[in-house]
């Protein structure tokens, strides 16, 4: 099963769609978790997810704001979406009947 951080990466990349690359996914994760996200940890996770076939990456266009360096574009595969869905179902199932189930449902950032 996916790890928590792996789920965050896949969910963020899926939400960003065609705009998903290293820096944008990191920004998305930081906005969601309200905590800092190490780029090194992100890239290690990307390598791991790609090795499992849950995402596909390719080198995108270089831009001046990146010092002329290319982006690593991320695309979630069908297997990745299945794995993310399975993770969410497991978390929801585990949460049923807990004291924070209803609290979590109304929680807004």
């Amino acid at each position: 099963m996916l790890g928590e951080f792996e789920y965050l990466v896949i969910a963020s990349a899926s939400r960003l769609g065609g705009d998903a690359y290293g820096a944008s996914v990191r920004q998305q994760i930081e906005a969601t978790t309200q905590k800092g996200c190490s780029i090194g940890a992100l890239y290690t996770t990307l390598d791991r997810l790609e090795a499992k076939g849950l995402i596909r990456t390719r080198m995108g266009d270089a831009t001046a704001e990146r010092g002329g360096r290319a982006k690593r574009m991320i695309q979630v595969t069908r297997e990745g979406k299945k794995a993310a869905s399975c993770f969410l179902q497991t978390v929801l199932h585990a949460t049923r009947g807990t004291s924070w189930e209803m609290v979590g449902a109304g929680f807004k950032r």
Binding site: A23, R26, G40, A41, T44, D47, R66, R69
Partner: protein
């Protein structure tokens, strides 16, 4: 300090694949990270990448099953050979006469001794090369640590072993023992320099060449597989 950090960043970049390096540095530039933040992020990435494979059992099996046993075996064999050859080197050097190169002595003693020594060292060389090649093929991302451990144990394996394991040590002799090779034992060249030279030439260098060959073949296979997919 800035210069030091820049040099450190350069060294870390060499340990990262070109595409990953470009994307990482690009992202760090985009978010406006300063030199120290770049160094920290790259160090974190390199450390995670190198340590990640060790979370599975395979590298540990390789370490315990091939790396350390091979290194210790080469260390013991090389130490014994060096010890014997040191005696012969001292003997011939100390008693050198051109008569060694003439007539019966050359063919009956010197040449067989040289051929025997060279053959034995070449066998160890082949073993070191094969060990390096196999490690490179099987390591998958842990080759740097595996080879470092192998070389370390190959050079000082016996010292480490006796320090770690509670092996029985022979009791000191109750009487003075005549050391027939005392002149060799007293020679720094014969006890320290010559063994290191032999280890470097016949073990360490072939090992590194074997590792290089193994890595080249693995990269070529990866390239062919990628080509087939495209």
């Amino acid at each position: 300090m800035n210069r030091l950090v820049t040099v450190a960043i350069g060294l870390l970049c060499r340990l990262i694949r070109p595409d990953a390096r470009e994307a990482l540095l690009g992202d760090l530039t985009e978010v406006g990270a300063n030199r120290f933040a770049v160094f920290g992020e790259l160090l974190g990435f390199v450390a995670r990448s190198k340590l990640q494979p060790w979370l599975s059992g395979r590298p540990w099996m390789l370490l315990a099953g091939i790396t350390v046993p091979l290194a210790l075996q080469l260390n013991v064999a090389a130490a014994r050979l060096s010890s014997v050859h040191s005696v012969y080197v001292w003997m011939y050097a100390d008693n050198w006469t051109p008569r060694y190169l003439s007539g019966g002595w050359l063919w009956s003693e010197l040449i067989p001794m040289l051929l025997g020594s060279i053959t034995t060292w070449l066998l160890l060389t082949a073993e070191a090369w094969a060990g390096g090649f196999v490690l490179a093929r099987l390591s998958r991302g842990t080759v740097l640590i595996q080879v470092t451990v192998l070389i370390a144990f190959m050079i000082c394996g016996q010292t480490v072993l006796f320090a770690i394991l509670p092996l029985p040590v022979a009791a000191p002799a109750s009487h003075a023992v005549l050391d027939l090779n005392e002149p060799v034992s007293a020679s720094v060249f014969c006890t320290a320099v010559l063994p290191r030279i032999l280890q470097a030439v016949f073990l360490v260098l072939p090992l590194l060449l074997g590792v290089r060959k193994g890595l080249q073949e693995r990269r070529a296979e990866t390239f062919v597989t990628t080509e087939e997919r495209l």
